[in-house]
Amino acid sequence: MTAQIAERLLYEGSEHAMCTNPLDDYFAMAGHRPPFGSPSTALWRGYVGRWEIVNDRLYLVGLSGTLEDGSEVTQASIFPDFPERAFAHWYTGSVRVPQGKQLKYVHMGYGSTFERDLLLTIDRGVVVSTEIQNNGEADDSQGQEGYGVGAMLIYPTKGRSTHRAQKDTDEGLL
């Protein structure tokens, strides 16, 4: 599994790579996930979300992706009444923002390590604490700063199947 393209986070006036996928939790809790296409092994989830912290609250402010049938997915597709800003009240957990130079590349998920991790602890969409975790110093002073990947990308995919979003009520998970 290839290292994955990160989500984007607007935080304290600048944009960062965010190695956490709060929208996956939303799909799981809602009991249905649109059938995103995976345009590359670097984007298995099939979308890139753009997030923002405003007044200690986590918001989704943009989404770009494609379904398996090639149709485009935007934030309005997921949150029709909130096409520009959706409060991520469903999310509880940690948000990881890697900083500094890469210490170790891991060819899987968000497994690569960086000099620092900014960790935002979120409780139902609200930031309750922030912490910088130091992971060490890179030997290579010329190395690349930050995660260095990801943007608001749209990758058209060829149609392979039709939209199959459905509620999983029969399995108990609503």
């Binding site: 290839t2 290292a3 393209i5 939790d25 939303y26 799981a28 809790m29 809602a30 009991g31 059938p35 296409g37 345009p39 590359s40 670097a42 984007l43 405003v54 007044n55 609250r57 918001y59 949150f79 009444d81 909130f82 800003r85 959706a86 409060f87 009240h89 469903w90 509880t92 957990g93 940690s94 590349y105 060819h107 690569s112 960790l119 602890t121 139902r124 604490s129 912490e131 690349q144 260095g148 990947v149 990801g150 943007a151 990308l153 990758y155 058209p156 995919t157 060829k158 392979r160 199947s161 199959r164 509620k167 999983d168 009520t169 399995e171 108990g172 998970l173 609503l174």
Partner: protein, 194 residues
Amino acid sequence: MNYLYGWLGAGALTLVVVLGAHLMSAERKSESIQDILEAINPERRKLSYRVLNDVVAPALAGILIVIAWPIALLVKVKEWVRPDDKDKRRDQIEKQFSVDSSHLKERLSVQEIERREMVIDPLHAAPALPFGHLHNTWCTLIEGLTSESELWSFSAIWECGWGARELREGYVVVRDGVPGAFLMTVWTQLENKK
């Protein structure tokens, strides 16, 4: 000898079929995504990586298909006949979690739960309704309530297949003492909690 030629011939034919199917279904690699992949892993820019990735690996895969063509054919036919299998397997893994009686915390009414779970956002970026963006999921849950149904809050520590421990909380419909359909309000890895 003829048998060997026949076997390898069938393998070559399978290779052509598999390759054709791959070319027809594969998405064209976008240049921007190549740039991103190279940014993630600078090794990809090296000639040795490219030779390994673009020449050696495909050649080995091709040889393997020619030799063990029945397996390749079986995999391809399975993909064509039942393309949804992979999704189903993934869904089954997702759905292993279920609420049991030991997870139950407190019996509550619909009104009590809706009061607790009202979402108010100062930027009006969520429906001002119980469970906010998950309101429809809540409605679906309570649609199925009968006079015998009870609603309970639950809290469970769930161990995933790969060893991670998660905290899962929410509300569940209980009938005859047996928890059934549920809605989660918290789903988080415990390792991430400070």
